[in-house]
Symmetry: C2
Subunit: 131 residues, 2 copies
């Protein structure tokens, strides 16, 4: 695939999921239920969404929130080094600590190595295995 | 963890994400954008959500759909054998074919081996590493 040291330059529209990449790469799955308090969550989430793009090997992320309150964010990285760099990022660490103190009722985090991937686009009208 | 041959018996409320399990286990991340047509999607999705519970090693799944139309479903399995059994399930195969023909504008599928996981609950008020 492309040089994984360079973050994507072209912004992806909200309605297009991060495409399947050639394995191996990593998915960071973050599922959460929020508290009733907003308290700056939106601004911080937006800021984190910008910062993570600067991490080497970041491949993109998708987020969705169900009416019942469950949120899922999946961020993709080329390798564990990028995930560790993001985990240790000072501003991200502060945001996570604030989140545990104020925003999250509960969450689960799963860091996973993608071994198989595939994609489908209506125009192509076929399932396209990537790896 | 628990005997992975037994599907969960207690239904989990919608607002509680699938908890972190002890690695290794697998996450199947399915991100999609739907077409305008409904055409039985809801009933089929519900049926699939019931059927997958019968797969040995199924650990649970979370779904969320963003206002913009992006849907994320993450299903967790103890091992690849369960994922393959679900992939090859006749009724599931038929539903996927119908989905490509009618329901999905595009999708990406990522099958990933979870190597690290952690969870947080407000009552405990601490990040709890699982593995």
């Amino acid at each position: 695939m492309s040089d994984h040291r360079i973050a994507p330059v072209v912004p992806v529209p909200v309605s297009v999921p991060v495409p399947a990449h050639e394995p191996p790469y990593y998915a960071v799955v973050f599922t959460s239920v929020r508290t009733d308090g907003e308290g700056g969550y939106g601004a911080t989430a937006q800021r984190m969404g910008e910062l993570v793009k600067e991490i080497p090997g970041f491949l993109g992320e998708d987020s969705a929130r169900a009416p019942g309150g469950l949120s899922i964010t999946v961020a993709y990285f080329r390798d564990l080094a990028g995930i560790e760099q993001w985990r240790d990022h000072a501003e991200h660490r502060a945001a996570k600590a604030h989140g545990r103190a104020h925003w999250y009722e509960r969450y689960a985090l799963h860091i996973a190595r993608v071994e198989h991937s595939s994609g489908f686009e209506r125009e192509a009208a076929s399932d396209r295995p990537v790896g």
